[in-house]
């Protein structure tokens, strides 16, 4: 029983982290229409920044030169800040290209980051990566309680980020993003500095990915180049398409459904010979489900909902009256 609870806690933490990524993709693509496939690059930058900032001196065969020995919250904030700076540098040239080109550029960025992580040993410790990454409050909460605590902490952070994303999405800022996504030339002719809007949402999404990266390194207690492959970006994208673009609820629902289904596969009893087959089938199933969703629910499980107009002071519940008049 307690094992099952631990499993649930672990799944919750993982879903929480991926929810952050899906929320970021939703900010980028769902609201602003940016085909940003490189989010895993930001996750990697966040995870490594956290690891380096909280790291102690190298031991044994470690080859890294930089370590700062800081508490977890410094590392966590640094992960957000450094990732944002990275995103700014990436965004400076790339946000001027449109559509499919942005997709290619961000894709390449993520690949380059992964290569850098395995090759720049002085900074990232090469393919050895960082093990035993410092976890927040590890010394206070001991034993089997820790995974529960970590899951709780992640859920709280996801909740805060969700509220932020929701606030941004429903604000006039979010409205301008959606307008830009729908018809960019028209947004320009309305006096919107499209580049600035793209940059700001790009940075916000990247910062969320950076924090998610730090949290991922808490969860895995590892930062390894192999953790940050393209499949991370794909998972977040599939989750978003599944759940519904352009609304944060859809992002959350999509992530829970996708990762829940992936984790449920783990309950299938297998012979070792069957394992590789089943994992291939899992990928085929994911693709199949995605195609079916796009065919029959193109707007996703939770379609984008139109917001209500702001109510004017002194005008109360106008709508039911209007509806009556119409009828």
């Amino acid at each position: 029983m307690s094992n099952f609870i631990l499993f649930l806690a672990s799944v919750t933490a993982l879903i929480g982290i991926y929810t952050l990524l899906t929320l970021a993709v939703n900010l980028h693509y769902g609201y602003a229409g940016l085909l940003s496939f490189g989010i895993v690059g930001f996750v990697a930058v966040g995870a490594y920044t956290y690891a380096i900032v909280t790291r102690a001196a190298p031991v044994g065969e470690d080859v890294y030169h930089f370590y700062f020995n800081q508490p977890w919250w410094v590392g966590f904030l640094a992960a957000g800040v450094v990732t944002t700076i990275f995103a700014f540098l990436i965004g400076l040239p790339t946000l001027r290209v449109e559509g499919d080109y942005l997709l290619i550029v961000t894709f390449a960025f993520a690949e380059v980051i992964q290569k850098l992580l395995s090759n720049e040993g002085w900074l990232t410790n090469g393919t050895r990566g960082f093990i035993n990454v410092h976890q927040p409050f590890r010394d206070v909460i001991v034993g089997k309680n820790y995974p529960l605590f970590l899951a709780g902490l992640i859920v709280v952070i996801v909740g805060i980020v969700y509220l932020i994303a929701q606030r941004v999405g429903t604000s006039p800022f979010g409205r301008t993003l959606r307008a830009m996504r729908d018809n960019e030339p028209a947004a320009l002719s309305n006096g919107k500095n499209v580049y600035s809007f793209k940059m700001r949402i790009f940075l916000l999404g990247a910062a969320i990915c950076g924090l998610a990266g730090a949290m991922y390194s808490w969860y895995m207690t590892l930062a390894l180049p192999s953790l940050f492959g393209m499949s991370v970006s794909f998972a977040a994208w599939i989750a978003l398409i599944l759940g519904g673009q352009g609304n944060n609820k859809g992002a959350v629902v999509g992530t829970i459904v996708l990762l829940g289904a992936q984790q449920a596969f783990k309950f299938i009893q297998l012979t070792p010979a069957m394992a590789p087959i089943i994992s291939s089938i899992q990928l085929i199933m994911e693709g199949l489900v995605l195609v079916l969703i796009l065919r029959f629910w193109p707007a996703g499980l939770v379609p984008e909902k139109s917001p209500k107009p702001p109510r004017l002071p002194g005008v109360k519940a106008e709508k039911p009256q209007g509806a009556k008049e119409e009828a």
Binding site: I164, P172, F173, R175, V194, S306
Partner: protein, 254 residues
């Protein structure tokens, strides 16, 4: 009356094609000025040059005496020049009211910082804008469709909404590219009346039109383009009698 918009010697070449060839014309303050010409005569190209969507090969554009050639699109728009497009410039997945509110320049709620630090002040601004949106909706007759997505509007309704959105802008000069296209003939008079009403409220219009009877009734002054050259300018009645214009539209009478 003085010239609000001056186009001075503007040429635009696409390779060997002279889309605009040394065009000089002006739009008087407070007028409804029409720009007509056969297909491919460079009307939309001229609008694109004025609003900064494409750069002129030669020449310059002045708005209220200030040179605007070379300014970025959004800067020109913020000077008070609004435009509609031949194709729809609506935001299809946004509701009618959102399509109006989004047009507002420099909204406080468009700053990410203010979104979190000044929600009260943003709410007030939104209410003030919504109030203007209601009056704009009334003028274009779309109050009932407030919460409809723009994608679900009929063609004439969409056209009205585009013009309605320009009203939110408080523009001084509005460039309309084919406002009559896609609007059913029964509604053309209503459309013309609305434009005249707005003109009387002080908005200057520069209108591209194919529907000549619509544009003749509406405009105070006309410019005619052919092969990128200005071939005639004047009052609608005199332009209609100009032989070069008749030739341009109907071909040379042998």
């Amino acid at each position: 009356m003085s010239a609000m918009l001056q186009v001075e010697g503007v040429s635009k070449y696409f390779g060997g094609l002279k889309a605009l060839d040394d065009c000089t014309l002006s739009v008087e303050q407070g007028s409804i000025t029409a720009l007509i010409g056969p297909n491919g005569s460079g009307k939309t190209t001229l609008f694109n040059v004025i609003t900064g969507y494409i750069q002129a090969t030669r020449g310059r554009v002045l708005f209220e005496g200030q040179t605007i050639t070379g300014l970025p699109i959004h800067r020109i728009a913020n000077l008070g020049i609004a435009r509609t497009f031949q194709v729809s410039s609506l935001f299809p997945k946004l509701t009618v009211w959102e399509n109006l509110l989004v047009a507002y320049p420099h909204q406080e709620g468009e700053s990410l910082w203010s979104v979190f630090t000044r929600p009260g002040s943003i709410r007030k601004q939104e209410q003030a804008q919504m109030e203007r949106a209601y009056s704009s909706l009334e003028r274009i007759g779309l109050t009932q469709k407030l919460e409809e997505k723009a994608a679900n509007l009929s063609a004439p309704e969409a056209r009205m909404l585009e013009i309605g959105r320009q009203l939110m802008f408080s523009p001084r000069l509005v460039l309309l590219d084919e406002p009559s296209s896609g609007v059913n003939p029964a509604m053309l008079d209503i459309l013309a009346n609305r434009i005249s009403e707005l003109n009387q409220q002080g908005i200057t219009f520069f209108i591209i039109g194919h529907n000549l009877s619509f544009i003749m009734k509406l405009s105070h002054f006309m410019h005619v383009l052919q092969y990128g050259k200005l071939i005639s300018s004047g009052l609608p009645q005199s332009v209609a009698r100009d032989e070069r214009v008749i030739e341009a539209y109907l071909g040379v009478h042998q």
